[in-house]
């Protein structure tokens, strides 16, 4: 499990108040998502990539994350130019590459990468615990924050359970094939995981009851907003506003 690969560090970005980071990501995401104007998107992309550099993250790890995301965009780049109607740029046999399709695909790819870069640089550089508490302080409904925490706490337990079952399969010489026996076995594995997690959730709930849980999660963490945080929030808002302005003007 790869958790919090980027959260250790002591740059200005790492030290920002997690509440500010969450708000910033929301701002830039909305601005970029609404924009379909290339110069505006490039401004956003440059700013977000700049943040990654400012956070001095491990370049190899960052690139490998981007590779995963761009795997999806590769499909868009292949399909959209051929399917969206517009003026033809090239003809290759029966296929036509349209100008509108191509711009579409390129804008989407750049937008996606810009948003993803902002997430790595801002959300990735805070620990999950801090982000959860920040959500709580931003008045996100308690149930959602609890879900967030529980997923973080138990995803590794669930993963271990899965690995345990897989080892049990291996020592009895199971190799996955495309036949009924394999599919049935996979179904058993998924079924076991569901059952195990249901049982576990019951036990956890009981453990919470034993410690006086009454439906409300309280925290003892508090954040203090500094000048640097405010300055960053204003900077981020300016970038988001300029993306929107470029969009509106053109």
């Amino acid at each position: 499990m790869h958790f919090e690969e980027f959260s250790d560090g002591n740059t200005l970005i790492h030290r920002l108040d997690p509440r500010v980071k969450i708000l910033s990501v929301c701002l830039i995401t909305v601005a970029l998502a609404l924009s379909y104007n290339l110069p505006g998107i490039i401004v956003g992309l440059l700013f977000s990539v700049g943040l990654i550099f400012a956070a001095r993250l491990d370049g190899r790890k960052v690139l490998s994350r981007f590779a995963v995301v761009n795997g999806f965009f590769l499909f868009l780049l292949l399909i959209l130019p051929l399917t969206v109607p517009g003026n033809p740029l090239y003809r290759v046999g029966p296929l036509t590459i349209s100008d509108r399709g191509l711009t579409y695909a390129i804008t989407l790819t750049l937008k996606g990468n810009a948003i993803y870069a902002a997430m790595i640089a801002l959300l990735g550089t805070s620990s999950i615990v801090k982000l959860g508490h920040a959500l709580h302080h931003l008045r996100v409904p308690g149930k959602l924050v609890q879900l967030f925490f529980f997923s973080y706490r138990y995803i590794s337990v669930l993963h271990d359970e899965y690995l345990r079952i897989r080892r049990a399969l291996k020592i009895r010489c199971f190799t996955g094939k495309t036949d009924l026996h394999s599919y049935r076995t996979y179904a058993y594995v998924v079924g076991m995981l569901f059952l195990n997690s249901y049982d576990r959730s019951q036990r956890i709930y009981r453990a919470m009851l034993c410690r006086g849980f009454s439906g409300e999660l309280r925290t003892i963490d508090h954040f203090a907003l500094g000048w640097a945080d405010l300055a960053f929030l204003i900077l981020q808002a300016t970038v988001a506003a300029s993306i929107v302005t470029i969009q509106v003007v053109s």
């Binding site: 337990v157 036990r203 006086g212």
Partner: protein
Amino acid sequence: MIEIRDVTFSYHSGVPILRGLNFSLSHGDRVGICGPNGSGKTTMLQVIMGLLRAHEGELRIFGKQRSKEADFFEVRRKIGFLFQDPDDQLFCPTVKDDVAFGPLNLGLEVDEVEKVVDDTLETLGLEPLRERVIYRLSGGEKRLVSLATVMAMRPEAVLLDEPTAGLDEDTTLRLAGVLREHFKTYMIVSHDRAFLESTVDVLYRMEGGKIYRPEYR
């Protein structure tokens, strides 16, 4: 403190797992219970905590009859329960949060909670783990942190379900020392004879849903 009279309980399958169980625990008792798998040891602990409801019989805890969910709020406040699997007990992201969970539910102020957390971790020698993320703790550390979460509620008694399962010798010894030193009243369910001998004054045997007279005193 705890009095169980003629309690029966069965799970959905209908086979009774507690059959006319009688038992009592008083202040200052340090009691161990051993017995084969499926003899109802864990079930009994869960009935005492109100996690399972007895079908018949009488359950008196702190001098009051306990039968409805609301009756057990006081029980859970005053009696701590250590679960078999620490992964069930520890559900917060960090050690500090988990230890603070109980005291916060008891309605303590934030700075009081901080103090309770620090005191508890110090008593158990766990201060270095304060900020640690729970899923990165070892099995032994998880067990000791579980005990800290129970201890932070300042319980009058503690029920422990297989506390030594999966622990190495050193951690087992450490756990026994902590129990002896910091807890006056407890009931331990375990298969670990050596551990029981080093922690309890009376050892009962449970079999077929009943508790028999003490093996030694």
